[in-house]
Amino acid sequence: MRRFLWFFILAILSAGLFYVLQFGVAHIPPAGKFLNPFSGFWANAEPAKPVIKESLSIAGLQDEVTVVYDDRLVPHIFAKNAHDLFFAQGYITATNRLWQMEFQTHFAAGRVSEIVGEKTLELDRMQRRKGLMYAAELTVEAFDSDTLAKDILESYSDGVNAYISSLTYKTLPLEYKLLNYYPEPWSKLKSALLLKYMADMLTGKSMDIELSNAISLLGEEITELIYPDFPDTLIDPIVPVGTTFPHTDIHLDTPSVIGIHQHYNVESEKTSDNIGSNNWAVSGSKTKTGAPILCNDPHLQLNLPSIWYEIQLSMPDYNVYGVSLPGSPAVIIGFNNDIAWGVTNGTQDVKDWYKVTFKDATCNAYLFDHEWKAIKERPEKIRIKGKASFIDTVLYTHYGPIAYGPGLSDDTSSYFLASAWTGLEPSNELLSFYNLNRAHNYDEYVKAISTFQCPSQNFVFASVSGDIALWQQGKFPMKWPKQGKYVMDGSLSEYQWQQYIPQSENPHIFNPSRQFVSSANQHPTDTAYPYYYNGFFEHYRNRRINERLALMNNITVEDMMLLQNDNFNMQASESLPLMLRLLSSQNQQSAYLKTLNQWNYVNDALSEAATIYEVWYDCLDSLIWDELYVEGKMTEIPLEFTTIRLMQRYPNHSIFDIKHTTDKKETLDDLVNQSFSQAINILDDWKTKNNKSLTWFEYKATSIQHLARIIPFSATNIEIGGNKRIVNACDSRWGPSWRMIVSLENPIKAYGVYPGGQSGNPGSHFYTTGIEKWRKGEYYELFFMKDASDLQPGMTTQTLQTIKP
């Protein structure tokens, strides 16, 4: 009996241990599986010299495909037909980036809780209320209605799935092992979700609610003063000032009241105000070689694995090099034998908010033009790791989904807000990229981008034949003045989007007399443009770039590299002299002041003056906008440019008064001095606490974080200068995600670098390849191969063979 009991106890213990080591408990990965050095995480470690098999047999290919890897592991894919090209792109991309591809689409779809558990439930609910899955489903329908797009996406999916089906636990990407789940089959829907993920990141946030709150706090006059549609001074738009636009008759039903202003205390997601990018092209008359040069650096959140995957795609009549988005076929930013192109974000507001009036508490019908319109319900089942699923229902009006309302989130609102967003409409952005990849000239470029809807992008263009151009392309609602700047009444048709701006009238510029084109998220036009638009536009990077380009001649690729990495702080150059002048005598003794007085306004990595200025300006900015920091109220701090204009023009304006000091009316003078004392304290404390000098990069602490925020898989405290509003727009979390320079000589010469590496595997030596060069402002020369035999030193060839039945 005792022996039986003894065995029984041991058997239970063994079984229990087996269970824990095989399946894991709570958030601890299954230790036996995971630690096993034969197939656990150890198996994901790769030797410094990559192992590239000479040939692979893959079911689903129609013909043989040659993949040449260069010394940075950039694949150059040579296929004989389109099916195999995009199949191979899917297969190769998945080999290097599968986990990232799937995680980003899970994020877009509101499915993160499936992987990490309940803590991301509110995030997932919000993602679903944005309607990204709904939009992705419409996008798949748009793909399917076009044979070409459908074929490309299906080939790509098949390639990804061929890789997924080859996986064993041993070859599974590390993050799946760590977070203990498995990849699903890829699909067109996932590619569509990726495009919506980008659209949401770039245009999914508009300030209507914040600006309505500002009106309820400060009144309409001050709100318009601090958030002007155009500043009261000259601006430097994409289409140069003085350009005439065709006269247009605009017939829009215009209401007498622009919006519904009340206290909307909704809990909105915070996004960076550093989403942006630079691109420009100079014509041959300004360059040393006589050929145009095109440059682009999109500023995105700095993540690992990198958002970009470098690739060359080649088949008969198609040869393109550039960066792709893992999860989408084709090249997004790049060049071919004839042209180069790049993108920056179009910053116009294309998402508007409507207050919806329901008939009763059942929320089945809402008021529209004096009638009750039926709501559409979309059930959303959110699976949660280790818990029962959460069932949500998202209500769709004809504008779009209701994102805020009683019971929909943590807020205590008594109103419902629905959004209309151009990203919710069916469109086929993929086809634009495919056609751009194979465009030979300006006309084909214009045709390729003409169907691109959302996110609106400034497509810069240059060709070997000598043309330069820039189109702001997107689907833009035609708006009456101030439409969509504030929350609007959803019950009346005159508030809805009535028409769209004809595509041919989107702001654009072709071979201008100034011999260069550029964009940096500034206003696309000056006030002469016939259509109303609003947004939070850039005012520094654009002016710095244009100033430099106008002065430069005999331009070389090296000059362009210096400009992309330019750390001149124009904002400081326009605000610091004023701030210093207002400083009282008792503040004149500070040692920090001496450093500031000697500053050349350059935010280099090692500058201490840059740190002092940035901290001081932030303190000043917070003091000035004290009236906007109100408990339970979502507001947006005005642009630095606007704030500095007000400092220069109206130093005694009531906005400079500090609200809670009722006995005193402060002016800018007081605020400058108060903020300087605050800054001294912050800087002193920081030095003591961190035991470091005040060098800008140490204070800024730029980090490139792993997508799932696994810190050991991240790169932290990177020695790099710059900041938002500076051409080298690198702040603590956002920055240039791909710097590219293309000289359109024949043959084309190109250079590029991104803060990451081709492999998404933290166990690969190619996980962080480019970071070092990127932070130093250096570039790789990009090998644009003519054909598969055009080999360079360090390249390795692999053949993908089809499995014959």
Binding site: R3, F4, W6, F7, L10, A11, L13, S14, L17, F18, L21, Q22, A31, G32, K33, L35, N36, P37, F38, S39, G40, F41, W42, A43, N44, A45, E46, P47, A48, Y169, L174, L178, I710, I711, P712, F713, P762, G763, S764, H765, Y767
Partner: protein, 135 residues
């Protein structure tokens, strides 16, 4: 001697099986071996845990050096072991050792339960307790 045979057998089988089969062969193999080959409890535990720990640590160490520490250094922070690759190797060995040892011990107990314990006891102690004699 029997323990020595067990160690050799476990090492050989685990080494081959690990290349093709899931990690839990390190539990199944010692369990079966301990049913077949008789040893005492302690020996059944250690004749499994020692070779498996050893194999796991050696294999992990080979990967660690062949890949230039690239992943080990990161994983030793994930766990968190303060970045120590040695500790990570040790943890790997301990987990493998405990799992295989416990399985060996369980196999031994299974054997003892099935096979008449009397002869066993008799030879070892030379004394059969009264209550068992009655049975």
């Amino acid at each position: 001697m029997r323990s020595f045979v067990k160690i050799l057998l476990t090492s050989a089988l685990v080494l081959v099986a690990q290349l093709y089969l899931p990690w839990y062969v390190i539990m199944i193999i010692p369990f079966v071996i301990s049913i077949i080959i008789k040893t005492n409890g302690a020996a059944s535990f250690f004749s499994a845990s020692i070779p498996v720990s050893f194999i796991w640590i050696i294999q992990a160490y080979l990967i660690h050096t062949a890949t230039g520490d690239i992943l080990t250094s990161r994983m030793a922070h994930v766990f968190p072991l303060d970045g120590s690759a040695n500790l990570l190797l040790l943890v790997t060995g301990i987990i493998g050792g405990i799992a295989s040892g416990l399985a060996g011990l369980t196999g031994n107990a299974f054997r003892n339960m099935l096979i008449s314990p009397d002869s066993n006891r008799k030879r070892k102690t030379g004394y059969i307790p009264l209550n068992q004699r009655r049975r």
